[in-house]
Each structure stands twice: as C-alpha cells, then as structure tokens.
Symmetry: C2
Subunit: 203 residues, 2 copies
C-alpha cells in the first residue's frame, strides 16, 4: 500500500499508527501541504479532488481519502473495530465528533502556531480565541466520557481512540493546557502504552 501523507499531520499519523499496529508494510509519499503540493492539478485529478492528505492507495490502485474512513476500512475484521453493530456505530460517532467538533478547533490552532508559524493578525487572534473555546468544549466532552472508562468504545482500544488521540496528545502545540482534563491525560498514557505504538513524527 502507498500512503500519500504529510509527517506533521495528525490525520496522516492516525493511518501511520494503525498500519504499523496492524503490521501492514506501506510506502509513504510526503507532500509539503504548506507549499500547496496537495493542490496541484495532478494531485486533484489523480489522488484526491478535495486536495488533502492522507490518501490511501491500495495494492489494486484504488484511492481512498479521509483519515477516519481509511481507519475504518483498515480496521474492519481486526481487533481495532468492535464486532457489534451498535458499537461500530459508536466508533463512528466519536470519529464524526472528532472531525466536526474537535479537529477544526484543536488541530487548526496547532497548524497556525506550530506547523506554519502564521503571523498573528488581529483577525486571526480573534479566530484563535473562538477556536480555543470550542476546543476546550470538545476536551470537556471527552473528559466526561472517559471518566471511569479506559477507552472510548466497548472498554478496549479501537480506531475511535486513534482518531481522537492524534491531535489531543499534541494539543499543547496549539496552546491548550490539559491540566484540567485528568481523565484525558490518563487515557493518553494508555494509548501511548499500546503495542506497536509510534510517535507522531515517525515515518
């Protein structure tokens, strides 16, 4: 398999982590998203019309975009996705929460500050403040859910945890302080202790 990827991206990291934990060998092609390498006519035409990584290219030459769709695809039939219909839907529930309520508010400040080092105009400062508030709301939802639980769904490590871990464990790079979220911090420790764990910047 080929992973069209960017090493600093948490969305790419989700897939690198799961592929590694599944023991699936893969080739990685790196794109500099800051220099527009995922918005070239060739990328839009052949890899993803939405101009984003990660994209998984299967051995049959099929392309699959959207990090959480790739996680679900790879995890089907493995211990990383529960068997029960309702539990599978709950995994998706947390993945959609991640992409709608979490990633835009926790990953984007990290991209602005840590990845691209954007200039802090007054407009961007206000936008950052709004995102920080929504990001803390998302962390609060996670804290409430994880209180008394080891993992997000069904009492065991699944792709729901991978999806939410990717940007939560580097939230400080976007200016978030996890001191107020002890259950989240304990869960971060449990995820990092899983067999086959790799850090975010490991290719």
């Amino acid at each position: 398999m080929i992973l069209h990827d960017n090493l600093v991206s948490g969305n790419g990291y989700k897939v690198r982590l799961l592929l590694t934990q599944l023991g699936i060998p893969f080739e990685r092609i790196e794109y500099d998203t800051g220099r527009g390498e995922t918005r070239t006519p060739g990328f839009l035409e052949n890899i993803d019309p939405n101009g984003r990584i990660p994209v998984l290219e299967t051995d049959d030459g099929e392309f699959l975009a959207e990090s959480d769709a790739i996680l679900f695809y790879l995890a089907e039939g493995t211990p990383f996705l529960p068997d029960g219909r309702l539990e599978r839907a709950r995994v998706l529930r947390w993945m959609f929460f991640e992409q709608y309520s979490h990633e835009p508010n926790i990953a984007v400040p990290r991209a602005w500050l840590h990845v691209y080092g954007l200039e802090m105009t007054e407009e961007r400062r206000l936008a950052l403040e709004a995102k920080r508030k929504l990001g803390r709301d998302a962390l609060g939802v996670m804290e409430g859910h994880l209180t008394g639980k080891d993992f997000f769904v069904g009492g065991r490590y699944s792709v729901a945890d991978i999806a939410l871990y990717a940007y939560t464990h580097v939230a400080h790079e976007g200016g978030f302080d996890l001191a107020d979220y002890p259950a989240v911090r304990a869960w971060i420790g449990r995820v990092a202790a899983q067999p086959g764990y790799i850090p975010i910047t490991q290719a």
Copy 2:
C-alpha cells in the same frame, strides 16, 4: 425508536428520510436549538454531552449521536449501504467530506440567514464570505465526482447520497446558486425521485 430532532435541521432530516425509506416507525421529539433546548443540563446528561441533535434512542434505550453515524447504523444490512468493504469505506469518505468540508460551509450560512435570521455584522459578513468560497469548493468537488455518475458510490442510491443531499438541496437558503453545478442539480432530481422520499420539513 425515538428521534431527538429539530425539523429545520438537515442533519435531522437525513435520519427522518432514511427511517421513512426503511419503513421504520419512529417517534420524534422536537427541540428548539435556537433557544438552547439541546444545551440544558438534562439534555447534556442524558441524551448527548455534545449538546446537538439528531440523537437516535433505540428500543433498548441506547442513545446514538452524530447524524452520519446514525445513518450508517440504520443502513447496515440494507440496500442503503453497499456490501463491499471498499465501497462501505467510500460511503464513509463522502460522509466525512460532508461533515468537514461541506456542512460547516453550506449548512452554517443557511442557519445564519434562513433559520436564525442573524444580524449581519461586518465580522459575520466576512465569515460568511469565507464560508461561501469553501462551500463553492465543496460543490465543485461534488460536481466533478457526479459528472458521468448517477450516485456517489457504487452506481446506486446510498446513505452517502442522503448525507450530502440534506444541505445541498437547500443550499440556496444560504445564498448558494447551483446554476454552475448541472451534475449536482441532476443528482438532486434523482434523489428526490427515490421511493419513500419526504421533503425536509415533513415530520
């Protein structure tokens, strides 16, 4: 089943439409989101800690949040979700596209203008313009994909179409003009012609 819902919501409509097309009877509980009825302590505690509708309450008293997770849950084992593993993942790919690239840019302007009738401050006007640009980008991705295709995945109507139809067919209520997207308009017609179709505001 009970659907915790809001009649003007496209996210709620997705579930109403699929439940109707599946012939599953359901009770609907209406919440006035504009008056904060999904952010009360009782709602956050018992129904969804993220304070949003739709939430499906099953006959076993289980709660499932996130519109697209509910669609996937209800569609498993029915003709509304493909059997093949890659095709199922492609359905999810379009659902994640919907929640990340489409809904925040196409549904939110509709909410501001059509649902809540918010006052147009200069700050909101700028935000609206930014969302309109990203919304047109999302419509462009859909147009490219649908050109020469009847439906989003596997050549037939699925929950990927339901997820994307909900806010696309009312995009004009957020100020979008679909004249430049003929393949999208033709697909809207095909979705509206499906057996068991109901309009967005039908309970």
